[in-house]
């Protein structure tokens, strides 16, 4: 299998970046897939990123899992611990006081959901991180970058597309 290389084109505005991505998609260059195209930008631009094709986000599923787990553990955990104290009954008090436990369940419901949400996000970032040192600090200022991972043979045509669409700078790395 050929080792893939990286090419990064820098653009001045989102409009041109979107047009370039569309051109890449329709170019049918051998040795290159749209999944290997990454948009890098200083701000979130969902409309431009939509040109890359569907890239669903599943974070909320993990939030839901966290919420369910947190509320279950919150209520059942505390209630079972309270039930263990049957040896220490106090007259007139319920063994498992439902309303107070609901308050703690509510707090744990939210806290665990938050933990799951952020953990899921960090894991997703790690999974999708592109293993390349090709990065330009101008991206964190005001430039839009299109990073493409492709077989070396395809790089020439990708560079041509970048040049045709007024890329300000084109960087390459192995």
């Amino acid at each position: 299998m050929t080792k893939k290389a990286f090419v990064l084109g820098l653009f001045d505005d989102f409009g041109m970046a979107a047009i370039t991505i569309a051109a890449l998609r329709e170019s049918s260059i051998p040795g290159f897939k749209m999944q290997d195209v990454t948009l890098k930008s200083p701000i979130d631009h969902p409309e431009c990123a939509a040109e890359l094709g569907p890239r669903p986000v599943y974070i909320q599923i993990f939030s839901l899992m966290g919420a369910v787990l947190g509320s279950s553990l919150g209520f059942l955990g505390i209630s079972s611990a309270q039930a263990n104290f049957l040896r220490q009954p106090r007259g007139g008090f319920p063994i498992v006081p439902i309303p107070p436990n609901m308050v703690i369940t509510y707090e744990l419901f939210i806290l665990t959901a938050v933990f799951f949400t952020i953990t899921a996000c960090l894991i997703v970032w790690k999974i999708h991180s592109v293993k390349t040192s090709l990065y330009d600090t101008q991206i964190s200022v005001d430039k839009i970058g299109i990073l493409v991972k492709a077989e070396p043979a395809a790089l020439v045509r990708i560079r041509e597309i970048f040049t045709k669409h007024d890329a300000l700078e084109i960087l390459e790395s192995d």
Partner: protein
């Protein structure tokens, strides 16, 4: 394929923008590179006032530490805490700091969900304020304990010594709620800062670069990072709102579930939440003015944004006033003579001056926020916002001290009780602690969200172009 959008100029918003002159929240022509430069420069070279505030805060903090050490070594007696005045200023100030923490949630989470983009240049420091207020509030839980080393008794945990917390007590709920809120607030503050930390990483050298690189967790601004970031941020924001409401409701429940005349009121939880939002917004105005000058943020913390903030504070102050009147009316027309007596005592007894000051500062003074000429005057707004917070602190004092001074039993009445210097020192120390942490934060982390301001500028500069950029013609 070209998707057709209606021309922006033909829409109602477009027509309004062309014909109704309106002050801009921010200069739309500001370059993105300048935004980075201004914010990064603020972290390097603040005005001398920064050091004046920092050093005076450090001084207050050290005085507070001295008082606390003295109290710890000698006992709570030196703070003149005795029955029935067992809480003194500590719990009043605890409620004050918990209240301050609500502003960050309001500006970040609630206004974020409502797409109010004017919040973007100012929400970061409001979030920081939330975090540091909660940390300060948490200290008072420890300070007011006689045996500080057994603080973990309030946490809901089972142990073999059968020191089982009373789950029916709102004090246990407090520990859980405040712990959850503090954790979530720290996560929310940090997570929202990641793209800005990457900017700091790209511009830093040496150990600072290592520091920011570690905190920016590999952020490169990729489309997948942005999309997951947005969803995560929104989700945490949505989870934070009910948490914030629950925290102050629970603090209110600490009082409302008791039989003490003056506290046993159903409207306490919403009253506390409204008061929290109110004092938080007033504090944001204060910090807005200070940061604007100290860090040269005149381009970002603009007068139109200050105006919006003032309008929001005014609206919340009226909600607070309404709930306050509801509380007075329900006690006055109610059938509980003890509660009515407690209300009369507040208005006419030893602490009457405070009661009238609270009502004036909390309900009358906010009308200055409704006057445009005053609203756009920064020095006046600084003074007004400080006075509003003085009023809100007095409100908390009025909840705790006069109520405990005038309970059911005449032999427990302590009409002439006033907090002594140890209590005052620890309270002043808490303000020093908060200011010190806040100022340190602004020096180490970007106190204006660079990426959000860029978004704000971008979408305002070219609303129709931004939409049309999507359908690419090939």
């Amino acid at each position: 394929m070209t998707e057709s959008f209606p021309s922006f100029d033909d829409t109602e918003v477009g027509i309004e923008r062309r014909f109704i002159p309106k002050a801009k929240d921010i200069d739309e022509d500001i370059a993105w590179a300048q935004i980075n430069g201004d914010v990064l420069r603020s972290m390097e070279r603040p005005r001398p006032l920064y050091w004046v505030i920092f050093i005076s805060s450090l001084g207050l903090f050290l005085f507070g530490v001295y008082c606390e050490i003295y109290q710890y070594n000698t006992g709570l007696g030196v703070a003149d805490l005795r029955n029935p005045q067992v809480w003194g200023l500590y719990i009043a100030t605890f409620i004050f700091w918990i209240g301050m923490s609500h502003s960050g949630t309001l500006l970040s989470a609630i206004l974020h969900i409502m797409h109010a983009d004017w919040r973007k240049p100012i929400y970061r420091f409001a979030e920081a304020m939330t975090t540091f207020s909660l940390m300060t509030a948490g200290l008072f839980v420890l300070v007011h304990l006689g045996r500080v080393w057994q603080f973990y008794y309030v946490v809901a945990y089972p142990n073999e010594r059968w020191a089982w917390p009373n789950f029916s007590s709102p004090l246990v709920w407090d520990a859980t709620a405040i712990g959850s809120y503090l954790t979530t607030s720290v996560i929310f503050l940090y997570f929202g800062m990641i793209p800005d930390l990457a900017i700091c990483r790209d511009n830093a050298t040496g150990y600072r670069r290592t520091f920011y690189r570690a905190l920016s967790v590999g952020w490169k601004g990729t489309d997948r990072q942005w999309s997951n970031f947005r969803v995560t941020y929104l989700t945490i924001g949505c989870l934070l709102i009910p948490l914030a409401v629950s925290v102050h409701s629970i603090v209110a429940t600490d009082f409302a579930v008791s039989q003490q005349p003056g506290w046993h009121t159903t409207s306490f939880p919403p009253y506390f939440v409204a008061g929290a939002l109110y004092s938080g917004c007033a504090a944001i105005i204060t910090l807005f003015v200070i940061l604007r000058y100290t860090f040269r943020f005149e381009k970002y913390m603009t007068i139109p944004i200050l105006e919006k903030l003032c309008k929001l504070t005014f609206a919340i102050s009226m909600v607070w006033t309404y709930l306050n009147l509801i509380e007075y009316a329900s006690v006055w027309y109610g059938t509980d003579p003890y509660a009515k007596q407690a209300l009369i005592f507040r208005a006419t007894g030893t602490y009457a001056w405070f009661w009238w000051a609270m009502n004036f500062l909390g309900s009358v003074l906010p009308f200055t926020l409704a006057v445009k000429r005053l609203r756009i005057n920064i020095p006046i707004m600084l003074v007004v916002s400080l006075l509003l917070n003085v009023g809100m602190w007095i409100e908390r004092f009025m909840i705790v001290t006069p109520t405990l001074a005038h309970g059911y039993y005449p032999w427990t009445w302590t009409d002439g009780w006033w907090p002594n210097w140890v209590q005052v020192g620890i309270v002043l120390g808490s303000f020093g602690w908060f200011n010190m942490l806040f100022m340190l934060f602004c020096k180490i982390f970007p106190s204006v969200s660079m990426y959000e301001v860029k978004e704000m500028v971008y979408h305002r500069r070219q609303p129709h172009k931004a939409r049309k950029a999507v359908p690419a013609e090939t």
